[in-house]
Symmetry: C2
Subunit: 387 residues, 2 copies
């Protein structure tokens, strides 16, 4: 067996921990340090570690565990209370950046025959990846507050809406075999089935929990359920695996052992998987093939994407009677982009709607948003602490 992956693990975990600690010393969240560690040891700088299937799969487990923990820590009453608002915020979070992105592309590359391409750039901007925000809120101890719950559920809904928009757009260009109605149907079916089986699963776990409280069995079986839901969501229903993991966590969040499960998963997560997810973002970064026009476009793309979410989600949250500071926090929390944006870009490439140079602005957006969101969130929560 080629043991190179062991060296990769040693380098990434060590760098992540060192930079994480330094970031915290400088007053920034630890995840920021871990992402920067990835950039530094990755191909963009030192080149010690490169992406591999193994590392991507470990990173995926990391983000799945993160979202599972977020689900486990959910306060169901708050989730119900914020559900309608979150849906509203999610819609704004999809459509405002989408319009901004479309206009930006048209401004740069002109209108003639480019409408679909422009809409596609807009779609890439619409995809929120909440995992970094979840990690930042967790570090701040604010994940289960009203604002935290709203952001998490809005991001989940955003993901689903984004998927539908993407399918619609690909359908228009023949880049997808499915039509939007099927996608909508599958998404609805997933949530219906998740809630339906969720009650049953919850009953079984409650029974197990009473018989075997605080044994290893409960966290391991819970983790199996989480992996299964992640798999079923992505493979069976075309919904992101992290959404499945989050829903699995929500199903189990009222168990009396929920905290015990979360703690066990958290230790596995912070020892190995989560740092690989954060450094993985850095590993994806490379700055090859950048000319002046693309550079300017990239900078505008990043700014528009960030501002789009703040304006879209923030103003919408304001309309939902969040106060000014909380609305801003929600806008900030929704700014983060991640692998969904990359996947969307890849699909666009496959459908001929995008050329590969546009990966650079997308990666820059992921990196920038992943680094500045936690910093700004921490500042806001320090200045204006709320639930």
């Amino acid at each position: 067996m080629d043991t190179r992956f062991l060296l990769d693990l040693a380098i990434l975990l060590f760098a992540a921990k060192m930079f994480g600690v330094q970031a915290r010393k400088l007053g920034a969240p630890e995840v920021v340090g871990e992402i920067i560690a990835g950039v530094l040891v990755g191909p963009a700088a030192l080149g010690f570690v490169h992406e591999s299937d193994f590392l991507s799969q470990m990173a995926e487990i990391g983000v799945i565990m993160l979202m599972f923990e977020a689900g486990l820590g959910t306060d169901l009453r708050k989730l119900r209370k914020t559900g309608a608002q979150a849906t509203f915020i999610a819609c704004a979070g999809v459509f405002v950046p989408m319009i901004f992105g479309t206009l930006l592309f048209l401004a740069f590359y002109g209108i003639s025959g480019q409408i679909l391409k422009a809409l596609f750039i807009g779609t890439i901007m619409s995809a929120t990846s909440v995992s970094i925000t979840v990690a930042a809120l967790k570090e701040l101890g604010r994940l289960d507050g009203i604002v935290g719950t709203t952001i998490t559920s809005a991001a989940i809904i955003d993901d689903v809406i984004g998927m539908i928009v993407l399918t619609f757009l690909l359908g228009m260009t023949g880049g997808s075999d499915e039509n939007s109605a099927v996608v909508i149907g599958k998404s609805v079916l997933f949530f219906v089935l998740a809630v339906g089986t969720g009650f049953l699963v919850y009953k079984i776990f409650s029974w197990l929990d009473k018989r075997h409280t605080h044994t290893r069995r409960i966290p391991i079986v819970s983790l199996c359920y989480c992996f299964l839901m992640a798999y079923v969501a992505e493979t069976g229903f075309g919904i992101a695996d992290i959404t499945g993991a989050y829903v699995a966590g929500v199903v189990l969040c009222n168990l009396s052992d929920a905290e015990y499960i979360e703690r066990r998963v958290d230790i596995s997560s912070y020892m190995v998987f989560a740092p690989l997810f954060f450094t993985g973002i850095g590993l994806k970064t490379s700055f090859a093939a950048m000319d002046a026009k693309l550079l300017i476009f990239s900078v505008c793309f990043v700014i528009t994407a960030l501002v789009g979410k703040i304006i879209g989600c923030g103003s919408c949250a304001g309309l939902c009677k969040f106060n000014r500071h909380d609305a801003f926090k929600i806008g900030l929390g929704m700014m983060t982009r991640g692998e969904v944006a990359l996947i969307t870009a890849q699909k666009g490439l496959a459908a001929g709607l995008l050329t590969s140079e546009f990966f650079t602005p997308v990666i820059l957006l992921i990196l920038t948003s992943s680094i500045i969101t936690p910093i700004l969130l921490k500042q806001e929560y320090t200045k204006y602490p709320t639930d």
Copy 2:
């Protein structure tokens, strides 16, 4: 991303836990249940899960963590006390099964022109893989006793001697570019360097430990050191990665936070990695291509291999003034075979010393020894409890 690996994880972890619990209820060690779970969901029976690079790498991390924990739990005084005896036992553990295996092959397939092949079958028999024994002793709480320490260190030395014998044999057939002297030199160099750098590493960790006792930093950085040593041992010195991991554990075993590190690593290990190692043994099992002669040979091969270790190591332990029961335990503990036997077989295949049908008896040996050793050890320790 193909999310099939998530389904594999869910199935394997669930099956491992369920069968582990059942095994314990029946009075057998949990690892036995986990191995059987792997056989059952793997290609030999239900075929739900097949081997993959990802699963092999996860399993490798599992066994590395296991050996790291074994190292961390080491009592240095006992290790020093048993060192000479362990070396003696290891030598007997290599050469007695080797002679037995050679004779067995000659008895089945005749002498003419087969001496090298016969010696090679003997070499396969000589390789101890201590990980299953370590897991069983850990479950029994006996890993850090005199018997447990002797078995662990003898198995480590066995591994090194086995490697030298293998290289010698491959060298004779031109199947290896290295010669035995180089292999011996590299092995010695590894241990010299490990001890040399070990003192420095221990000093650094002691200093870190005093400043940051019970923080996440210590276990994570320790794990990085473990992965690094595993990588360096295998890639740089041709020694098994698990030997490197064990040595890393021994270096850190006197830290005041050693138990804290072990606990953290243990949780990551039992939540995900260790069950994947145990079920992985089961996944490797398949019973295709078996004719009557091979079946009979396989059964004899397994019995000879097991008896060879008991006679070799057990009688040698008796000579080292262990009492009858402890000597028998040491013989039992050294019976387990694992991936080293498979790797040896693969090298033999590549060198033309072995045909692929001989993989079946090797796999059977791994499976049988992995299942019966923990059961017998538990029985012996229950009947004749010693340190």
